[in-house]
Symmetry: C2
Subunit: 458 residues, 2 copies
């Protein structure tokens, strides 16, 4: 029996998050006046302790004991040597993955949902609102809120609400209130329903509803939570990479290549950022965020200032963007259907520290099925994007006869997303290559905004 | 941060299963002639190496390296101190659970699916057939077969096939062929369809189809696999209890009470049997298998000789039985809807070593929701039965002011069974108390069969 899993004891869990803002420079978020957003301007939306984390440049931020005491329900997560996948590919590469599917909701999302719920609690907040597309984030926040006795309200995009009933059942079991968006509970929702009573909804509308529900609560005890993109969210996720580093050290390994799927960027960055620190300080390591070719934010879209949401409620963020009005084609990886990309990831791509890859759906699901039949775990459709690139790199190592060490993030399991596999087996997963015209449209959309500066790390 | 999980390293995984037939006496299975079944009579159904395990009285059976090398995808499973549940109940009891939800299909079932697939492979078998009700067993066998490159054919009860589409998607992803039963592929299936083209199917028919598909394959390279009830299945599951013992030893604990839900009996026995050995040898430990009050096999049905299936294909087994024609009410725990009980568990109840409990559905789901909101993991509906008794015992310990140590089996997660929770929240989970007349019917059904002897352990 060859060892598969490299485990950490609970007392080896990292005690601090890594904040990359100590080591890189970012173009600041801009307000409607074109000037940098001041922290207090965000106070109606987020609790001040999280806003402080968002702008902090302190390298190491202590993880509160009360957060560790919930994270340890499933953390430290296993680092796994993908022995069976290696064998199936006949590669000399040694492939490792962080198994983030082991959390109760089945993905990496609770790594930030838990601290976000905690900091809201400490700040005296009684109720958190959020939006969710496919449902991974909404169920993670519902789980986290149940741990701290906070009310949780989730606006779930109508079409997913109808197509993925298990997600809302999970949220209900954890005590959250999940409604289909657009709902009649907000002005934004009512306006959308008036325009089209049969609308399938969109993430843009759901975000508007969740923010409105938070800022209009007169008690002042409601705030909004976001599951990706922001600096503090990526920082909470660094626990993945910090654990992975400890685990690889235990067996005397260091990755040549780091791979993760990237929608908003948080699971990928969570694994990669602690290694980016090494790279800035001289280590050789290739770092590949992976996206669907149908939503090529990182590989084709320009690096611009754009809004994070369709309704332009958010500040302007310096990022790779397909334009805030872009509607991604309906590929089966809800978590990767986002027009923008986390400013931190966008900056690291712009600086050349990360090298994005785009993969096609056929190849994505082929890799996912191979992984399920070898490693056993059925991956989330999002994770399959990372797997497609892992397979590519492992086969390249085979061709070159090189013993590459590949590390990737198994961001979640697919047990609630089996319809995507059904569609794949039925030959219904079609790839849509994005037309050049769409990219031009994105550029035109952001043409009136300020241009971000090309920055270098500190 | 208080420690929750007691982990074993992979090199601490048990190397042998515990075979309780070394320590207890069983009434033998009887053939149609009323005489004990000889091993070779089962050869068309099971491979001979598994039949040998079924009848072996050797106390320790080596687990093959090739089996350990697949079990270590998820094993050893964590032993978890249920700190948050204890706190929610305000109990002085220390509650521990084995988390068997961490396997790729999400339950304890692969603990036996993996060795069964392996022994079939070694015996030269190319294809395994089975039936599945709710789908836990079918998906576990699909996963196991994918690990050894064996074809897997699953006959899934029609109504579940339609209501739980994710289960068949999981099986397809692992490469298995899953069809609705009754199917037109077998004589038994065609007969059932002829009788009623719109039949919802039944486990009885599905078993008949799976056995027929195995024994009628002229190549001789197909066998049938069963997911519970049989001696070798319970033995494969003892890895749960053997690990639990090691883990409790590490922290200087020993259980006062052991609890598990019991349908066919395998997850419960897997945890309990290694502790039954201790009890036989003088240790004080209370052992409670738990069943739904709506299907009270252990608490109300007689200890008789009866068939394991509706169609009377199986030998007569000495067990607690509600009668082979009994159709359990449609409660939402498919794994607990079985008219009989494993002969080993039945024998241990008859001898007074185990004390069965029956719980009602309202209490079952209330406990499940409490567990989800405290421990985080959404339990399988089956596991909720164990949890209901855990809550009872923990509250009793509180009343008595006693520091009881409770150990139970978290047999699976409920992510594929969320409809049961929906029904609970909608107030649609109704309990059906079984009428006395049903018990009398069971007794009458088995009246013509031989009577089992009341035996004592060795």
């Amino acid at each position: 029996m060859e060892q598969r899993k490299i485990l950490l004891r609970e007392d080896e869990i990292p005690r601090q998050w890594y904040n990359i803002l100590a080591d890189i420079n970012l173009n600041p978020p801009l307000g409607p006046d074109g000037k940098p957003v001041r922290p207090e301007m965000l106070a109606p939306v987020f609790p001040m302790n999280l806003i402080e984390q968002e702008v902090s440049t302190q390298r190491w931020i202590d993880i509160p004991e009360e957060v560790l005491g919930v994270l340890n329900i499933w953390r430290p997560s296993p680092l796994v040597r993908a022995l069976s996948l290696e064998k199936a590919l006949g590669t000399p590469a040694r492939i490792y993955y962080k198994n983030e599917s082991v959390s109760p909701p089945g993905s990496h999302k609770p790594n930030t949902a838990v601290p976000q719920a905690y900091y809201n609690k400490v700040f005296g907040i009684k109720r958190i609102t959020t939006e969710t597309g496919a449902g991974q984030w909404g169920s993670a926040l519902a789980f986290a809120c149940s741990q701290y006795g906070i009310e949780c309200k989730v606006f779930m995009v109508r079409i997913s609400f109808d197509q993925k009933p298990y997600r809302k059942s999970m949220m209900a079991t954890w005590g959250a209130n999940c409604v289909a968006s657009p709902s009649s509970e907000t002005r934004a929702g009512r306006a959308a329903l008036e325009k089209d009573p049969n609308t399938p909804g969109s993430l843009g509308i759901a975000i508007s509803e969740a923010i409105e529900a938070a800022v209009t609560d007169e008690s002042g005890q409601t705030r909004y939570a976001l599951g990706s993109v922001l600096n503090h969210v990526l920082m909470h996720q660094t626990i993945i990479g910090l654990e992975a580093k400890k685990q690889m050290e235990k067996i005397g390994e260091y990755p040549d290549i780091i791979i993760g799927c990237a929608g908003g960027g948080s699971n990928f960055a969570g694994l990669a950022l602690p290694f980016v620190y090494d790279k800035i300080h001289g280590k050789q390591v290739a770092i590949y965020p992976v996206e669907p070719a149908a939503c090529p934010t990182m590989t084709k879209a320009p690096f611009v200032y754009d809004h994070g949401d369709t309704a332009k409620y958010t500040p302007l963020l310096a990022m790779h963007s397909l334009g805030h009005a872009f509607v991604p084609p309906p590929i089966h990886a809800g978590g990767l259907r986002y027009h923008g990309m986390a400013p931190i990831v966008s900056q690291l791509i712009d600086e050349g520290i990360m090298e994005p890859k785009a993969v096609r759906q056929e190849q994505v699901f082929k890799a996912g099925v191979l992984a399920a039949r070898s490693e056993g775990i059925i991956p989330a459709p999002e994770t399959n994007h990372a797997l497609a690139t892992v397979v590519d790199e492992a086969l390249k190592a085979k061709q070159e006869g090189k013993e590459k060490v590949i590390l990737f993030n198994w961001s979640g399991h697919g047990l609630i997303d089996m319809a995507a596999y059904d569609n794949y087996f039925a030959g219904k997963i079609k790839d849509v290559e994005l037309a050049e015209a769409e990219i031009e449209k994105a550029e035109a959309e952001c043409a009136g905004y300020p241009k971000p500066t090309h920055l270098k790390h500190k």
